[in-house]
Symmetry: C2
Subunit: 356 residues, 2 copies
């Protein structure tokens, strides 16, 4: 039975539409009887249908951060020039997810979803709903980068340009183990109850521990040392110490989320791997890419380090490495710094101007 969670409502996340894809078969087996993708669009699709940009979302994220932080007139992702489609990933709480679906796949019965499922669903959505056959750009951060890579490998003819930010094409062992600690923080809470809780509040302790691990891995040692958190602002809440920043910023960020949604995404994150398209051969998979690709790791990222991203970039024909600076590490994705946003925008503008 569906669980009410206002956090995922349009009132909190900003407007989005639900598009039904009907029954959707999953790579890992099983199916979602009626897959609903939560989609937010910005700008207008032109008659040639060649100004579409796709943005898949990251772990725990929705379209909202993209709307508030990355998209806007004068920005690289300019809705006055482009038709920008942000698709919430399956299981993220807005699209079909454990808590918002009824019947055979509700809650703990939600099936395993893979990055490839998201990408296939997005391709179907763009084609069937919008008539889009080619994308001017696919851009995403973290798990959004995983989906961006998967797009470029799986549908090379459809992706003209790709910009994976702070994420890899093939998930690393270290990332797998890190993600597992996030999952175990939640599932170790007796209130999680094998996935059958009556409210995220039942899993408050687990969500808190999950947030606390993000404090260690999501930011950077320099973020904490320099007290960069003094520059971070939220309405109606302040912090005077680093522990208060963890308690008042990071913990509330995750407290409202659905535990099973986080677990569904985490399982998917652990297994992102474009080499599934080529019998395990990563070089062959990346060699398929024809998109002009800017690979953009964040310099202080603790778990998608630059060197891991560089290794994949070097296997990608015609690609370029564009390292983004952020003292916030992986959470630099939230755009705390003008320098980060400016460099990102500059890179995306340059990429979009390249004729392909």
């Amino acid at each position: 039975m569906a669980l009410e969670n206002p956090f995922y409502s349009p009132e909190v996340q900003g407007p989005y539409d639900l598009h039904s894809l009907g029954r959707f078969e999953l790579e890992e087996g099983g199916a979602i009887p009626d897959l609903q993708l939560a989609v937010a669009t910005y700008g207008t699709l032109n008659d040639a249908k060649d100004n579409a940009i796709l943005v898949p979302t990251w772990f725990s994220g929705t379209h909202q951060t993209w709307e508030l932080t990355y998209i806007g007139p004068g920005r690289a992702l300019d809705p006055e020039k482009y038709f920008i489609v942000v698709v919430n990933q399956i299981g993220n709480g807005c699209s079909t997810s454990p808590h918002n679906t009824d019947g055979e796949i509700a809650m703990s019965a939600f099936p395993h979803v893979r990055i490839g499922d998201d990408v296939r669903a997005q391709e179907q959505l763009l084609r069937e709903v919008f008539g889009i056959e080619r994308l001017a750009l696919v851009v995403g951060g973290s798990m959004g980068a995983q989906q961006t890579w998967e797009w470029a490998v799986r549908f090379p003819d459809k992706v003209l340009r790709a910009a994976p930010i702070a994420g890899t094409a093939q998930n690393t062992p270290h990332d797998f183990l890190f993600t597992q600690t996030l999952m175990d923080a939640i599932t170790s809470d007796p209130g999680w109850n094998g996935g059958s809780y009556s409210s995220p509040a039942d899993v408050a302790d687990g969500l808190r521990r999950h947030a606390d691990i993000w404090a260690v891995m999501g930011l950077s040692t320099e973020f904490w040392r320099t007290e960069f958190w003094r520059n971070v602002e939220l309405p109606d809440v302040t912090w005077d110490t680093f522990v208060e920043f963890r308690d008042r910023f990071l913990r509330p960020t995750f407290a409202a989320m659905d535990p099973n949604a986080l677990l569904s995404m985490a399982w998917k994150w652990q297994r992102g791997d474009v080499a599934r398209n080529t019998g395990g051969d990563l070089a062959a998979a990346l060699g398929r890419i024809t998109a002009k690709t800017f690979v953009m790791p964040i310099d202080e990222d603790m778990f998608f380090p630059v060197r891991d991203c560089r290794r994949e970039q070097e296997l990608t024909p015609g690609s370029e490495l564009r390292v983004l600076p952020s003292i916030a590490g992986h959470f630099g994705l939230f755009g705390f710094e003008e320098t980060y946003l400016t460099q990102l925008d500059d890179n995306l503008r340059e990429l979009l101007e390249i004729e392909v």
Copy 2:
């Protein structure tokens, strides 16, 4: 009431002596009624009593790793030349600890112990039991480095040379948060029961989660990427995948340990800070040091990064930065690599040959 734990016995850890210091007042308030330090010595104290080397231990460690990995004829820590005293830190399971003491401070009633307490206790031990007034060298890794720094600041006249490896003089906010996740992994286990368990096995789940966080932060992304674990060997157990290495090496490493001992050490680790000696002024504290000091961070360390150690080294008069290479990150301390051990020994030999 004391809990039997064979893991901390001389049969498992190698021989050590217990030296009683009697009643020991603690910086944080309270006292240990009869503080017993577990001490292992190697070599012979010369008549001048000027060939003594002190080694304080790290989090979860005992004298054993030092005996097996760092000390031996022909090594820098050569028992044929030096009198090497390895003192197990208070709360480590061998010295007085929550599980091995009776009465008012047993188990959950164990008082908070600080790095400064360990250093004062070690100073008393060396003076009263061995008649040692000056140390040719203090060397330790991680929390052993915290104690090494504290020694050099608190007793500058007694420390001729200092070699803090992979640890800081002032714990960082990031380290504090990281250590907290280790602690929460244990205390979130219902079997921990507020510290009143009847066996570490009651806390098996918590100890497992604690080990799994170490897998992410104790090693390095390159350790996991390159499958360096294929080079690690233990008797009677093998692993073919990175998950098996976590399950069969890292988890058993911590499973036998006492949860309250780990928590006591972790609390201490979080608060290591030589600036407590100088009213919070780190530069003033490090400025007191007269020991010839080689600061030796490990290049791949995820939580005592080189830059944090360099910052402290630059505040330490006459010190040198000697970065040690280890793909194993912080756990490079276990000496998996000959290159690491050779560079460490070379540095220590050079340091010991400097006239001071």
